[in-house]
């Protein structure tokens, strides 16, 4: 069993847990994820590692309450325990000195972007973070991400904070600007990663996305998380979760994410406002 060290509810429907797992914390790197199972009858779900504390032995995860498992998880308090916590899984984020990197974070992706931005900054990159939230009351993690960024651009759907409007407009404006962008990293809902990748493709800027297919074991033994990248089948849990956004077959990923609509409810498409077909 794994003890919950801390629970926070930064904004409505989004929760943050710090879980005691010293062996995982010892090895965690930016871009990796964990698989959790809440209780004996629970399913295994993947969640990105948002932060770690090697001394305390804690791993921070952030999640949106969208279905049965995340609801169960949201009901737990500090001191409670979950049955299983496996990680760190997946390949670490590719961190090098690229030059200027735009980190595009949508929704609670802001929090999972933090370790990546931090590592990029440490590697000597100029980091421009671009954040999108529905409105000011859904915005969180911006200050922390900002602390590892040279520039922070915040926008909200309703204009209640920062700029008003679509992240696509902001991204396009940034890429049209005078400053050369060497790489874009996007973390967010699938459809947003798809549309953002389409924009960066127009500007031929290398774009990395962190994919979020359905997973079971998370160690490469089943292929549930398979995605097509550059025409090849890859297992996101072991070959990713980071891939080149211009090579991903997005429609396939979106269809596969909706394998269990009746079972999982529409909650999976919670963020999806731009693609009614799914």
């Amino acid at each position: 069993m794994y003890r919950i060290m801390l629970r926070e509810d930064p904004v409505p429907n989004i929760h943050l847990l710090k879980i005691e797992a010293p062996a995982v914390a010892r090895k965690a790197q930016a871009g990796q994820f964990v698989i959790i199972r809440v209780d004996e009858k629970g399913e295994r779900i993947p969640l990105s590692i948002a932060d770690w504390d090697r001394e305390e032995g804690g791993i921070t995860i952030v999640f949106n309450e969208v279905g049965r498992t995340t609801r169960k998880l949201a009901h737990l308090e500090a001191g409670d325990e979950i049955a299983n916590f496996v990680g760190p899984l997946g390949l670490p984020a590719e961190i090098e000195k690229f030059g200027t990197v735009a980190c595009v974070a949508i929704g609670y992706g802001v929090v999972t972007m933090v370790p990546i931005a931090r590592a990029l900054k440490e590697a000597g990159n100029r980091v421009i973070s671009v954040i999108w939230a529905q409105s000011q009351n859904m915005l969180f993690g911006d200050e922390r991400l900002g602390s590892f960024s040279d520039q922070l651009i915040v926008n909200t759907d309703d204009g209640s904070y920062g700029r008003k409007g679509s992240i696509l407009d902001v991204l396009e404006e940034l890429l049209r600007g005078s400053e050369r962008i060497d790489r874009v990293i996007i973390i967010g809902p699938t459809c947003m990663m798809k549309f953002c990748s389409a924009i960066t493709k127009l500007f031929e800027v290398k774009t990395i996305v962190s994919l979020n297919p359905i997973m079971v074991d998370g160690t490469g033994m089943c292929g549930c998380c398979r995605v097509e990248v550059g025409g090849e089948t890859k297992f996101a849990c072991v070959d990713g979760p980071e891939f080149d956004g211009h090579e991903v077959d997005w429609d396939l990923l979106m269809a596969r994410r909706c394998t269990y609509p009746a079972e999982k409810g529409r909650a999976l498409m919670y963020h999806c406002q731009n693609c009614a077909q799914w």
């Binding site: 062996a23 995982v24 090895k27 199972r37 009858k41 629970g42 399913e43 295994r44 049965r68 498992t69 049955a83 299983n84 916590f85 496996v86 990680g87 760190p88 899984l89 079971v216 074991d217 160690t219 490469g220 033994m221 089943c222 292929g223 549930c224 398979r226 995605v227 097509e228 089948t233 072991v238 429609d251 396939l252 269809a255 596969r256 909706c258 394998t259 269990y260 079972e263 999982k264």
Partner: protein, 463 residues
Amino acid sequence: MPKVDLNRVSMPKQEPLVRARNFNEVALGYTAEQALSEASRCLQCPKRSCVDGCPVEVDIPDFIMAVRDGNMPEAVRVLKAKNSLPGICGRVCPQETQCEASCSLAKKGAPIAIGRLERYVADWELSQGQMEKPQLAKPTGKRTAVVGAGPAGLTAAADLAKLGHEVTIFEALHIAGGVLMYGIPEFRMPKHIVQTEVDYVKSLGVEIRLDSVVGKIITVDELLEDGYSAVFLGTGAGLPMFLNIPGENLNGVYSANEFLTRTNLMKAYLFPEYDTPLKVGRRVAVIGGGNVAMDAARCALRLGAEEVDIVYRRSEVEMPARREEVENAQEEGIIFKFLTNPTQCMGDGRGLVAAMECIEMELGEPDDSGRRRPIPKAGSEFIMEVDTVVVALGTTPNPLVPTTTEGLEVTRRGTVVADEETGKTKKPLVWAGGDLVTGAATVISAMGAGKRAAASIHASLRE
């Protein structure tokens, strides 16, 4: 000498049409009378060729003699002296190619039902409520690490513990047992029996660390640095092979590993009581002809499919599945389409598989595997309507440990090179056995490898 009955005592089973809709165990096991009667057929040959046929060399005539004498504790003792997991082996070993194949009676009639008797003894012990612990050797103070809690790892761990070593097993999943938990269905291998035998291994002092993916949470080299004197790798062959045909990533197309893991490990057949879902359509096609294909097909039927077809590119005689499982599947109503190979999966326009294009095959000359090579018959393509496809083509070793371990030699097929007798790899202090070394094989051959590696580790630690 009384005349020996050349027919074995048959084992009671659930009726085919009843069992095809439930996950309860198909074979019900011998009663005491049946076991006694079957045990009485044993000739107690001086040559003991059955023992040579058993990869872990169980003293078969001795435990059968004990059953015949009604001395069940002695039967348990004899069995467990060589085999820590008899309830498992009695159920899933392919005895017809091992111990039973070399039974003297096999020349004249049916061999002794050694597997069924082994199972009877194991189940008897379980019914007694508590397991007797064997004598453990004096602690040696040496720590050994075992990677993977499948049949190979559990056997190696049990043997090392009996020899007095301190053993820690590192297991990636949330429960120990490997393929016995995620692969082989409840109706062939009840999970409480696997867990009882895992508990027995733990009772020998073996620590099992679950949720521990070696290669990620810790590497083999770090285990050695952390003070483990030897490492045994028993990570199996868990990487699924796909067909590499168009449309294979459509929804409704599963690897057998995913399909069986959801069903068996996650208990998707009990959804929504259990949280893991699984979608099984009206018409299911399972591609392949091994035991895994039989298991997947029979699970699909039990999950409510109306029609389940096994699609196999060779003919019935080349099928690698156990005869008994093929018969069970046929009785339950599984349809076999031989000499048929899928060429593409077609979608319904919304990302869901709706049909499969197949081509008929004919058999040519034998290939490297010794089986006749299937060749497509030009122009014989046809369409099969399906809602679910399960790909059961086999598995290869997961590269996670080999790729994170410096100095381990790996073959082109992804298997780890290890000495067949000792399990020694090319890397000092590291042993390996089971499917990781052989590629997908049997539970008992993995156990045999675990046993031999434990003996070799013991010998090297004593030096």
